[in-house]
């Protein structure tokens, strides 16, 4: 019998990397270091400027990344060593999720002139692609 528990791939556990969505640390990743109850966890991000704090799960979203073999209630300094060894932050930055966030922020920060230049470059790109496509179509016809 298929269990509902089986459909949850990302679990709240010590070592789970989370992305903070609410509050002063919005947009930063941190690691679950201990669990308080079914609503809250202690989270710490020494390499990403997140102070060790109790945070509600509602303010956070779980990522696919887990810091392996992390002891519960580990201190900040030791946690930083773990993060460096397993290259957690780099793994996160390589994910499509993180890259999409970066792209979104870049697009929002474009100035009016930047948007104009983008439009012109896209047009050029479109022309090159469409031209080649048309040639190929003609060839195959």
């Amino acid at each position: 019998m298929p269990t509902r528990q089986g459909s949850f791939k990302r679990l709240v556990e010590v070592g789970r990397v989370v992305l903070i969505n609410d509050g002063a640390d919005t947009g930063k990743i941190a690691v679950i270091v201990d669990i308080v109850d079914h609503n809250r966890a202690i989270v710490d991000g020494p390499t990403t400027n997140v102070t060790r704090q109790v945070i509600a799960f509602k303010k956070v979203v779980l990522t696919d990344i887990v810091v392996k073999r992390l002891p519960r209630t580990i201190g900040s300094k030791a946690l930083a060593k773990f993060l460096e060894k397993q290259q957690v932050v780099e793994t996160w930055q390589k994910t499509a999720w993180a890259q999409k966030i970066v792209a979104r922020e870049r697009r929002a920060a474009l100035s009016d002139f930047d948007r104009f230049k983008l439009m012109r470059l896209k047009k050029q790109q479109r022309f090159i692609v469409d031209h080649q496509t048309a040639l190929l179509k003609k060839e195959r016809a």
């Binding site: 929002a108 920060a109 474009l110 100035s111 009016d112 002139f113 104009f116 230049k117 012109r120």
Partner: protein
Amino acid sequence: MANSRTNQLVPGISRLSRSKVFSKRAAYKIAKEAKPKVTKEKKAAAPKKPSTTKDLVNALTQKKKTLVTRSVALEPKTVRKAQRATPLRKSITPGTVLILLAGRFRGKRVVFLKQLSSGLLLVTGPFKINGIPLRRVNQAYVIATSTKVDLAGYKVDAKFNDAYFKKEAQAKMKGTEEEFFGKDAQKKEHPAHKIADQKVVDEKVVAAVAKVPYLASYLASSFALSNGQAPHTLKF
């Protein structure tokens, strides 16, 4: 609270106007009593100036019917407001590209030169790029973009002031036949000195614009919002 019917809306302003008060009081409906003629006997019988304390008390407790005249003459209010030019937004510096939001050239992008003494902004297309001449523009109808044209060390001639742009007073022809049938096709020629001035001012600006790729075509284009764009979320 709406529909409050107090006599005064705001201290000094009554809810009802003079005419409304008049019609409401309807004093005209009440038959006025004929004023009794004060005969000499009655005048003699009128209360004399109080001499005893009892008379004094009586005199003081009677309601005063005469108006009290002003001891100090009325003076006009001293106005402490000074008329000054609108302060320039921090985002607008010489060389800033502005987007015009109203007027003949709405949507166009222009280069800001300087603020005139009236507070209006002196801008130029440059004329060769987008057809906008040296012109005055109100700061309120302008979006300042973060794009700046490098006009370092370039000082706009002081002759470009508000008087330079002031419209010439036209001979009044209102109500005449000429005005009704339209003036003779006498297209006013643009003064030659203004064309020359434009060239002089634009020379430096065009040179600075040419250094930045795409900037000339950017200034030639118009601003528009496309689907999904909201000006309050856009960065300019």
